[in-house]
Symmetry: C2
DNA sequence: GGTGAAATGGCCGCCGT
DNA sequence: ACGGCGGCCATTTCACC
C-alpha cells in the first residue's frame, strides 16, 4: 500500500526518530506514552512499511574537508531516453553529487555537489561534461550553509 | 581541534555508518578488520570529535505526503545584519524549508522546500514574503528526485 | 496494548601485548 | 593502539493476558 496508516503516536515517534535515532527504547516509549513492547512494534511496522527507509550517521562536512557546496543548473537539448539513462548512470557514480533533480521551467536538471574547494569542483565539472552532452551548465557557489536538516515536516501526514 | 586525525580505518567506519548506522557492532568490527573493543572505541571517538554529528532515521517523502520539492532563489536589497537575523529566524521556524544557503553570484539565498502540493507551497511562500522583505523570489519546481543521499564523499579526508 | 522473562548483544572496566 | 575476558545492564523478542 502506498499510504500506510500513520496515527498521531506514529507521528510522534517519527518526529523523535528523525531527530535522533539512537535513543533508548525506554525513553522513546515514555515520550509517546506507551510501554516498551508496543512502542517497539510500532517502530518495526514503520520500518517494514517503508516509512522509515534507513538509519544513518550524519557527518560534519567541515571535519571531512567538504567546505564547499555548489548548485549546478543544467540544460540539455538531447531528450532521448538513452541519453537520460547514461546521464543518470554518470551522476550515480559521482559521490560528490549528493542531490539530483529533474526540474520544470527553464532549467532541465539541478545538482547539489559537495567538494573541498573550487579545484575539486572543477574536476567534478569536467567529469560531468565529458561523459554527457550538456548544452548549458551553470554553477552557483554557496558561501554558507545556514540550515540543513534531514527532518521532514510531519504536519501533512494523513 | 578543527581537524581530528582520521585514518583509513576511520574512513571505512564512516562509510559504513553513513549508509546504515543500525548495524551490530560485531559486523562493523569484522568489516573493518578489528575486534569489537577497539572498533567501539573508534566510533565513540568519532562521535566525541564531532565527526559524527547525529544518528537519524530517514523517512520516505512520498509516504508522509511530501511529493513536491521546490528550489527558491532569493534576492534582496536590504543587507543589514538585523535584516539577516530576522530572515534567518523566520526560515528556522519553517519546517518545510529543509535547506538554506547564502550564495555567491546573482542570487543572494537559496532554499529547498518540501511540501505535498503547490497549494501548500503557496502558503509557505506567503509566509516567507510576509515576514521578510525580499526584492525578488524565484521558485523552481522539481519534477522528480533522481538522487538524494546523506552519504558524503570521503575521498578528501586528511 | 500490557506484562514478565529469557536470550541476545552492547558497554566498559581491566590487563596483557 | 589492538585484543580478550568478564560482568553488568540495556534491548530485543518471546509467550501469554
Amino acid at each position: 500500500m502506498a499510504a500506510p496508516k500513520i496515527d498521531a503516536v506514529d507521528v510522534k515517534l517519527l518526529a523523535l526518530l528523525q531527530r535522533s535515532a539512537d535513543r533508548h527504547l525506554a525513553e522513546l516509549a515514555e515520550a509517546v506514552g506507551l510501554s516498551q513492547t508496543p512502542c517497539w512494534r510500532r517502530v518495526q511496522r514503520l520500518r517494514q512499511d517503508g516509512v522509515i527507509t534507513a538509519n544513518v550517521a550524519l557527518l560534519d562536512r567541515a571535519k571531512i574537508n567538504l567546505g564547499v557546496t555548489v548548485f549546478v543548473s543544467i540544460r540539455t537539448n538531447v531528450h532521448t531516453p538513452a541519453w537520460f539513462e547514461r546521464f543518470k548512470a554518470t551522476i550515480d557514480l559521482i559521490p560528490e553529487v549528493v542531490e539530483f533533480y529533474r526540474m520544470s521551467g527553464d532549467v532541465d536538471y539541478m545538482l547539489r555537489v559537495v567538494v573541498p574547494d573550487i579545484a575539486a569542483y572543477d574536476r567534478v565539472y569536467k567529469r560531468l561534461i565529458q561523459d554527457t552532452q550538456l548544452s548549458d551548465v551553470n554553477s552557483s557557489f554557496a558561501m554558507e550553509q545556514l540550515k540543513y536538516t534531514t527532518a521532514l515536516p510531519l504536519s501533512y501526514v494523513g
